[in-house]
Symmetry: C2
Subunit: 485 residues, 2 copies
């Protein structure tokens, strides 16, 4: 303390104050995990309603954490759409779990930075360990080296930046100015993050070429080959192809073995986006579906999706980590240290310099569930999805819009004789009605003009009964809305 400031002002809240309030928070969390099913899945608030209940400005003098916890309970939580609810079937369930929450608590307490080894050795080494455990569980060869990023969007950006570096060896120095146009290929079902990466990298949307998918929403390899041949003949430089194993709309699987052969033939980078479905590769019964992905140059798989690890945790596996570092590495003087020859500096594998200790939660999840335990859980969801697909097939007026894949089922209510626009509008109303019930939450997609309902099963607490109930809600909504019409 300097003489100008009152003694006792410097410093955090007393640890005993933290202890008291954090125990209270733990009890809240445990109660929440017990009772989350009794809450509406989708928040029942209107835009602006949450924010309006806060003061417009920060308080000048600090206020108590007890009051903050009250605001949390009374204002914030009612404005939350509960991804923890076992009937949350929207997007891809980014399911946390108890060991994952514990990992985030401990990581937040340490608050270290895994940018270079020295800045916290265990954070770097547990990241190396956890990504290697995961690699083994996925059955990938030992030359795939993993690094944890925040999101698949960034993992894919980093992979494609590396592909760009390989395709244009002097891009690091000269940029894309004056270079021949390049192109990145992915199916018309690929995630928007591929196109976003193309934009970010300065390639422009004109450098993204969507490849036609087949009836089951899988990239058509012959269309990829034709596009490559056409582009090469036109003087366009192919940079990379992205194969999606588990697309966002339908969880369809591109034929990766054949795509890998084409990528090798044209000598371009193959990136595999398996952010959601990649978890499935740990299941012996599902592993064969991934055959050929080991031929990729890079693979992204998100433990924060179908692997019970809280957000954010996206693992980018790369067989050429030195090329990945080559695209990004810049080591300023203030980050140099003696161990840099013998240790990995994880900051070199992407844009972000600061890196949380994300490996901790991933390690805790794998250790607590075990590889076989995780595999059994994932297979359960696949069985539930298959059963749901069977119900859809048998129910009059209902139809599947794509094959069920992993734990995702896409379907719609399409009574005979109803036109497309009317059917689409009806499905939107069914979706809104089910979501408004608060008893289940689904999202939608549009497949070749058809408004389509999606159920992605993956919350750690979801059981068959939740799927049964959601299916009842859907059928009831369809019936009620059809009568009303």
């Amino acid at each position: 303390m300097t003489k100008n400031t009152p003694i006792g002002e410097v410093g955090d809240l007393p640890p005993e104050e933290f202890r008291r309030i954090a125990h209270e928070a733990v009890d809240w969390i445990a109660d929440y995990l017990t009772n989350v099913e009794s809450l509406p899945v989708k928040a029942k608030v209107r835009p602006g309603e949450v924010r309006a209940r806060f003061p417009a400005s920060a308080p000048e003098e600090g206020e108590s954490l007890d009051g903050a916890l009250a605001t949390w309970r009374d204002v914030i939580v009612p404005g939350i759409t509960h991804w923890n609810h076992p009937a949350f079937f929207g997007y891809f369930p980014s399911s946390g779990s108890a060991p994952g929450i514990l990992g985030e608590m401990l990581a937040a307490a340490l608050n270290v930075n895994a940018m270079v080894w020295r800045s916290s050795p265990a954070a770097t080494e547990v990241e190396e360990l956890a990504t290697d455990w995961l690699r083994q569980m996925l059955g990938l060869p030992a030359d795939f080296e993993g690094v944890i990023n925040d999101t698949a969007s960034n993992s894919t950006l980093y992979a494609l930046a590396t592909a760009r570096q390989v395709a244009y060896p002097d891009v690091r120095q000269t940029g894309l100015f004056g270079q021949p146009r390049g192109r990145i290929y992915a199916s018309d079902q690929a995630h928007s993050s591929v196109e976003k990466a193309v934009l970010t990298l300065g390639l422009g949307r004109g450098s993204f070429r969507p490849i036609e998918s087949d009836d089951a929403f899988r990239m058509r390899p012959e269309a990829l080959r034709a596009a490559l041949e056409e582009d090469v003949a036109a003087g366009v430089r192919p940079i990379a192809v992205v194969a999606t194993l588990g697309t966002t709309s339908t969880a369809s699987m591109d034929p990766v073995a054949e795509i890998a052969r084409i990528a090798r033939e044209f000598e371009i980078w193959l990136h595999v986006d398996s952010a959601y479905a990649g978890s499935g590769a740990i299941v012996p019964e599902l592993r064969p579906r991934f055959s050929g992905w080991e031929g990729a140059d890079s693979i992204v798989m998100n433990p924060h999706k179908w692997f019970f690890t809280p957000s954010d945790c996206s693992v980018l596996f790369c067989r050429h980590p030195e090329q990945l570092a080559g695209a990004f590495s810049l080591v300023p003087e203030y980050l140099r240290s003696a161990e840099q020859g013998s240790t990995r500096s994880l900051m070199n594998y992407g844009v972000a310099l600061g890196r949380r200790f994300r490996a901790l939660k991933l390690w805790l999840v794998m250790r607590t569930f075990g590889s076989a335990g995780l595999a059994r859980r994932l297979l359960d969801y696949v069985h539930m999805a298959d059963e749901l697909a069977g119900w859809v097939d048998e129910a009059p007026g209902w139809e599947r819009v794509a094959p069920a894949s992993f734990s995702t089922v896409v379907f719609r209510y399409a009574p005979a004789g109803m036109g497309l626009d009317e059917t689409n509008a009806l499905n939107q109303r069914i979706l809104d009605r089910v979501n408004a019930s608060g008893e289940a939450f689904l999202t939608h997609t549009v497949l070749r003009g058809k408004m389509t309902l999606r159920m992605a099963i993956g919350n750690v607490k979801t059981t068959r009964e939740h799927v049964v109930h959601a299916w009842e809600l859907l059928r009831d909504a369809a019936e009620a809305l059809s009568k009303a019409a």
Copy 2:
């Protein structure tokens, strides 16, 4: 459960099991926060030592969380460099705090995604609220709109992607192919993230032009103007200038008002990197140093640096949020929803689609400390740094290498008559000796060839006594090593 799988397999650990172990974890955290000062600041482990104590593969069947907590205590924590230690003076202290840890605990429990409003309304609205509270505290005009990213590296990438979009209006469609070379300017003291962004954006290092800094490591505006004039005359297209308020090496402040005038004159984007020192703008006594930054197009400030918020939390303020979204926004069908006209979709302001509920910890920190409480704490550190600077000035053989700025002091031991190489080597040994003591942790930089020691004061628990003791350690090390030589 399907009939193929055993009942009871689906599901998380029982919440009561979580409750028990999480209470234990809270006690560990509270004890840790109480006793962290008794631990060595820098981890005393050799490369590979931590990892070697783990099994090479994940267990097949899950193991207990109690065992995991034991591994945490016995294996992981001894491998940690403690950013929580009050004598951690390295890099920029990314200091957490008790309210921040609480925020991370609760956010991890909810595990929601703030990508669109619907995916968790309160997460979007609290982010709007918290960044607006922060904007007011910093004294920025209301047209600056904030969004939370993981790191300043990404905030700067997003800002410069927007500048690129403004400079090349058709880049989104056509990319940089065939465009005239562009250029981004920053001082030779700017953070490496600026150059990393230039690489990522496909501009190439040739598009980065470092501008000479003056004796106090501030960008020379006349050098910026000369560079711009030269480039424009040569047909190079200026894209953006980055002014750093609080450089990484010395916390020096570029003359932002003058730089803003030049940016306006040349009609280029002005991005301000104030990741560390920006927090200082909340202090009335320090606010005048930021005069002119309100003329920027975008400003990055990291609450996870000098603002007691655990990593990761970087706020990008932008006066043209529609241009920011214009550089990135891509809304695929599966993310559309009815409210998108009337609510903000925070995913549109950068690369990452998945977004944690980071606003919670930031809100908790501002609410618990209060704006005046935060300002008093920051000013304390500035007073400590000024006092340390005075001691350096008075001590024989010691010298400052740059003016003290905010809470950062850079200095070295340079006995009269010693050559540069020898002086540099001596300072490296002083640094290594102090860090090996485990009683304080500093990092270094190199300034115009001089190996320089840095002390950045900012941990929430640091008091004057810790600074006094670090200074004693430094002087003792210098004396011992000088005698030995």
